[in-house]
């Protein structure tokens, strides 16, 4: 999973948690505290993922990494040279 997919997933989970917290007014305090703790952890994760997702998009825009859906390069990325450690000696 790339950083943008992680971000999308985490953001969606955070929205769901916020809705659950908003609807949990009559639930036991312990349950609400647990939801709040999960939301706090998820917020921290989202804060950390956002710069990575943006850096990833920038790298794609510069052409450092292929964009999802880009055609595969015509030349094979790996040309066996007999020196690979994956090759039998």
């Amino acid at each position: 999973m790339n950083a943008r997919e992680e971000l999308e997933l985490a953001t969606r989970r955070l929205e769901e948690l916020s809705q659950r917290i908003a609807l949990a007014t009559n639930r036991p305090a312990g349950e609400i505290e647990e939801l709040a703790r999960q939301a706090s952890d998820l917020s921290a994760a989202v804060v950390e993922i956002i710069p990575r997702a943006i850096a990833e998009a920038e790298a794609e825009a510069r052409g450092d990494v292929p964009r999802i859906g880009d055609p595969a390069p015509e030349e094979p990325a790996f040309v066996p040279d007999g020196l690979s450690e994956d090759e039998p000696a």
Partner: protein, 137 residues
């Protein structure tokens, strides 16, 4: 404090506002977090943009909604929304030439967002800039 370009400062401002928008965490906590991660989040231009957007967010969002042709600011994807917020703030501040403010926002949208976002950002900001011109005339 290391020197950062206005472009880098603008990038950092959008990231902080995006984080704030999605998580609801306070800006000082997000700035502390970014500094720990080695980002130049305490740059004066970054802070001016973040503080300016935070102070006028309701007005800025109203202007985005009025110019977004069927979209309300709260329904625009959060990354696009915060690119727009920074640019609308800059257009209103008069510190940056109009074409520069629009171009910087469109470039961020090109690099960070879905394919249709740059055109959308350009359209919204073009309308905001025209309104500013008419209001000043």
């Amino acid at each position: 404090m290391a020197e950062v370009s206005r472009r880098q400062a603008r990038r950092q401002a959008v990231i902080l506002l995006y984080q704030r928008d999605v998580t609801g965490l306070p800006v000082p906590e997000l700035v502390e977090n970014a500094l720990r991660a080695g980002e130049h989040a305490d740059d004066p231009f970054t802070q001016a943009l973040v503080d300016g957007v935070e102070a006028d967010r309701a007005v800025i969002d109203d202007r985005i909604t009025a110019s977004a042709d069927g979209w309300t600011a709260d329904r625009i994807a959060p990354l696009e929304r915060n690119i727009l917020r920074v640019a609308v703030y800059e257009l209103g501040s008069g510190d940056v030439p109009v074409p520069v403010a629009i171009d910087e926002a469109v470039e961020m949208a090109k690099k960070w967002c879905a394919a249709e976002a740059p055109k959308f950002v350009n359209g919204v900001l073009g309308r905001v800039a025209r309104e500013n011109e008419e209001a000043a005339a």
